[in-house]
C-alpha cells in the first residue's frame, strides 16, 4: 500500500501516549485511561483514513530498557520511513532534562533515517496546572524544546485528555498527513460559497478530527474547531452505549436564523454546515449536501474530480 503513513509516538513511560491514542482512535473516554497499564514494547495500530490512506501508529512503550532498544539495536526498524514523530512530555515530569535527553536521541536517529519527517512535541497533562499558569508553564517548555531541537524544526502543543486541546494537536497532525488536502479545501470553499454558509467543516468520520474547513464569516472563538470535535465525539461515544454499532449520525439544530447541520458526507467523512442567512432553508442544506456527496467521494479516491454543480440554495 503506497499510502501507509508511519507515525511514531514516543516519550517516557506514563507521559500519556497510550491514553491519547485510545481517546482519539479507540473510542475511550478520558476516565477509561486510568485502567491502562504501561505499554510493552511497541503497539501498532492501523487506522484507515479517508479511504485510501492508512495511518500506522507506533506506540512505543517508554520504559528505559525499551528506549535503549529503540535507540540502538532496533534503530533502523523504528526510525526508518517515519512521516511524523510525536514526542510526549508530561508537564508534571520531575526531570525535564531527562525527557529532553531521550527526545534528542530520537531526533538524532530520525535525522539520519527519516530526515523529512515532521516533528511534533506534545506537553501533556496540562489540566494539572492551574488555569492562569498554563500559558507560562507551556511556553517555558516550548522554548527549551525548540532550542534543543536545532537545527530541526518542531511544533509544540499543550494537551490534556480532559479537554479539547487534545483535538487541536491531533487535528493539525492529521492535517499535515492528508495528501490532497488542498483539493478538499477548495471544494469546501466552493461549497460554502454556493450554500451561503457562515462556515463548513469537514471531519474524518471515525475520530471527528477536523481535516478541512471553510470560513466565510469571522468568528471570535479561535478554539471552536477543537471544541466542536470534542463535543461531537463525546456525544457519539455516549450514544453508542445506547445505540449499538452507531455508524451514522445526523444532527440538525435550528435556533431562529441559525441553522447547524451535521451529516455524513462520504463513507469516511462527515460535514457540518453553519448558516445564519435567513433565506436559506434547512431542506436546501440537506439537498446540497446530497449533491456534494458524489464529488467528495471522487476526491477521496484521488481521481480527477469533475467540477461541482449545485442547486439553488433558496429552494
Amino acid at each position: 500500500m503506497g499510502n501507509k503513513k508511519k507515525v511514531l509516538l514516543m516519550g517516557k513511560s506514563g507521559a500519556g501516549k497510550t491514553s491519547m491514542r485510545s481517546i482519539i482512535f479507540a473510542n475511550y473516554v478520558a476516565r477509561d485511561t486510568r485502567r491502562l497499564g504501561p505499554t510493552m514494547n511497541v503497539e501498532h495500530s492501523y487506522i484507515r483514513f479517508l479511504g485510501t490512506m492508512v495511518l500506522n501508529l507506533w506506540d512505543c512503550g517508554g520504559q528505559p530498557n525499551y528506549f535503549d532498544n529503540y535507540i540502538t539495536p532496533q534503530r533502523e526498524q523504528i526510525f526508518k520511513g517515519a512521516e511524523v514523530l510525536i514526542f510526549v512530555i508530561s508537564v508534571e515530569t520531575k526531570e525535564l532534562q531527562d525527557d529532553l535527553r531521550l527526545y534528542q536521541s530520537c531526533l538524532e536517529a530520525l535525522a539520519h533515517l527519516s530526515p523529512e519527517a515532521k516533528i511534533v512535541c506534545l506537553i501533556s497533562k496540562m489540566d494539572l496546572i492551574a488555569d492562569e499558569k498554563r500559558e507560562q508553564e507551556f511556553s517555558v517548555r516550548e522554548s527549551e524544546i525548540k532550542r534543543r531541537s536545532l537545527p530541526l524544526k518542531v511544533t509544540c502543543y499543550p494537551t490534556s485528555i480532559w479537554d479539547e486541546s487534545l483535538y487541536k494537536a491531533w487535528s493539525s497532525i492529521i492535517y499535515s498527513l492528508v495528501p490532497n488536502i488542498a483539493k478538499f479545501e477548495s471544494s469546501l470553499n466552493m461549497f460554502a460559497d454556493i450554500m451561503r454558509a457562515d462556515e463548513v467543516l469537514l471531519f474524518e468520520k471515525a475520530t471527528y478530527l477536523i481535516i478541512a474547513h471553510s470560513v466565510r464569516r469571522k468568528h471570535p472563538d479561535g478554539h471552536r474547531f477543537e471544541k466542536i470535535s470534542n463535543i461531537i465525539k463525546q456525544f457519539k461515544l455516549n450514544a453508542s452505549r445506547y445505540v449499538a454499532n452507531l455508524h451514522t449520525m445526523r444532527m440538525e439544530i435550528i435556533n431562529g436564523d441559525l441553522k447547524i447541520l451535521l451529516d455524513m458526507l462520504t463513507p469516511n467523512t462527515a460535514i457540518m454546515v453553519v448558516i445564519t442567512d435567513p433565506l436559506v432553508y434547512p431542506a436546501a442544506i440537506s439537498l446540497n449536501i446530497q449533491t456534494a456527496r458524489k464529488h467528495f467521494e471522487m476526491l477521496e479516491k484521488l481521481d480527477r474530480a469533475p467540477a461541482m454543480q449545485f442547486g439553488d440554495p433558496k429552494v
Partner: protein, 331 residues
C-alpha cells in the same frame, strides 16, 4: 443574610433540605447540578460551616428553596441552638446523603434521629435517601448489596419505634454520572402539583406519535420535571441529556448571544437512520425531548411538529390555570 424568610413567603415556596454527615457530598451535589461545576472540580470544595439557602427558580412550574445543613452542625447537639419546629414544619422533603465510600453504618443513627424528629413535627415530609459516591464501588452488585443492607437496617429501626408508616425512598447516586440528575429529578417532580396532568399529556403525546419515551426538561439544570409513565431508564436519560448538552454547546458556539434565549430552539438527531431524538423548546426554560425508533422520519416529522405544537398550547393552559388559582387564593 441567614435570617429566615417571612412566613408568607416560606409557605409559597417549597423547601428541600439537604442533610448528611461531614464530607458526604452535599455541597458537591448542589454545585454540580445547579452551578455546572465539573465533578472533578468538587475536590476543591471546603467543608461548609453555616446553613446555605439557595433559591432555585428553574422554570415556570417550579420555584423552590434548597437548604444545606452543614455536616459539622449536628442539629441534635445541645450546643447548637436549633429550632427543629421551624426547620421542618415548612419543609417538603429531606434528602439525606450517605457516603457509601466511607463506613456507611455510621451515617444511620443521624438519619434515624432526623426521621423521628421531622416526622413528628410534620408528617407530610418525604424522606429521600441518596446512597452517594457509588462511583467508587466497582460492581453493580456492591451497590445493590449496600442498598439492601441500608434499607434493612433503617426499616428495622423504624419498626422498632413504631414508625413503619414512614416511607423512605432510596437512590444510588454519584456526581460522576447521570444518577444524581435522575435522582434529583424524581425528588423535585413531587413538588409539582400538576405532575399527574403533565404525565398524562406526555402519555398522550407518545400514543399519538408512536414515541417511546418523552421528557419535559428544565434545560438549565437538566432535571426533568415530568416524564411519561413508562418505567425509568437511566441509559435513556443519559442519551437524552447528552443530546441536550450537544445541542446547547453547539448552539452556544454559533449563537451571537442575543437570541440564545429564544423560545424556538429545536433539534433533530438521527442515529443509524432509525432512531430519532427530537428536542423543542416550549418556553423560556423548558424543552420537550422525545426518543423514537423504527419510524420513517419523513413520514413522522410533520406529525411530531404538529403534536409538539398542541403540547405547547396545552402546557400554557396548565400554567395559566395555576396562575389564576394562586391569584384567587390571594384575593
Amino acid at each position: 443574610s441567614q435570617e429566615p424568610v417571612s412566613m408568607a413567603e416560606q409557605e409559597a415556596k417549597p423547601q428541600i433540605i439537604l442533610m448528611g454527615l461531614r464530607r458526604c457530598g452535599k455541597s458537591s451535589i448542589a454545585q454540580v447540578v445547579f452551578n455546572k461545576i465539573t465533578p472533578n472540580g468538587t475536590v476543591l470544595l471546603e467543608s461548609t460551616t453555616k446553613i446555605e439557602f439557595t433559591d432555585i427558580e428553574t422554570n415556570t412550574f417550579l420555584h423552590y428553596e434548597l437548604v444545606e445543613i452543614p455536616g459539622q452542625m449536628d442539629i441534635f447537639e445541645s450546643t447548637v441552638p436549633m429550632n427543629h419546629e421551624g426547620l421542618f414544619s415548612n419543609c417538603d422533603a429531606v434528602i439525606y446523603i450517605i457516603d457509601c465510600s466511607d463506613s456507611y453504618e455510621s451515617a444511620l443513627p443521624y438519619l434515624y434521629q432526623i426521621v423521628t424528629c421531622a416526622h413528628k413535627i410534620n408528617p407530610k415530609i418525604r424522606f429521600e435517601v441518596f446512597i452517594h459516591k457509588t462511583d467508587v464501588l466497582r460492581q453493580d452488585g456492591d451497590k445493590l448489596a449496600i442498598r439492601r443492607s441500608i434499607y434493612y437496617k433503617v426499616t428495622r429501626d423504624l419498626q422498632d419505634s413504631c414508625l413503619e408508616a414512614v416511607k423512605l425512598h432510596f437512590y444510588l447516586t454519584s456526581i460522576y454520572d447521570y444518577s444524581i440528575f435522575e435522582a434529583l429529578s424524581s425528588v423535585v417532580q413531587k413538588l409539582i402539583p400538576e405532575l399527574p396532568t403533565l404525565e398524562n399529556m406526555l402519555n398522550l403525546l407518545n400514543q399519538k406519535c408512536r414515541i417511546e419515551k418523552s421528557y419535559l426538561f428544565d434545560l438549565h439544570s437538566k432535571i426533568y420535571i415530568a416524564t411519561d409513565s413508562t418505567p425509568l431508564d437511566i441509559a435513556m436519560y443519559a442519551l437524552v441529556s447528552d443530546m441536550i448538552d450537544t445541542v446547547l454547546d453547539l448552539a452556544n458556539i454559533y449563537d451571537s448571544g442575543s437570541d440564545a434565549k429564544d423560545a424556538n430552539l429545536s433539534s433533530t438527531f438521527e442515529l443509524n437512520n432509525k432512531s430519532f431524538l427530537f428536542l423543542k423548546k416550549v418556553n423560556q426554560y423548558l424543552a420537550l425531548v422525545v426518543f423514537m425508533t423504527g419510524e420513517d422520519l419523513q413520514e413522522t416529522s410533520g406529525l411530531i411538529e404538529y403534536n409538539f405544537y398542541l403540547f405547547k398550547k396545552a402546557l400554557e393552559n396548565v400554567f395559566e390555570i395555576r396562575t389564576r388559582k394562586s391569584k384567587e387564593k390571594l384575593l
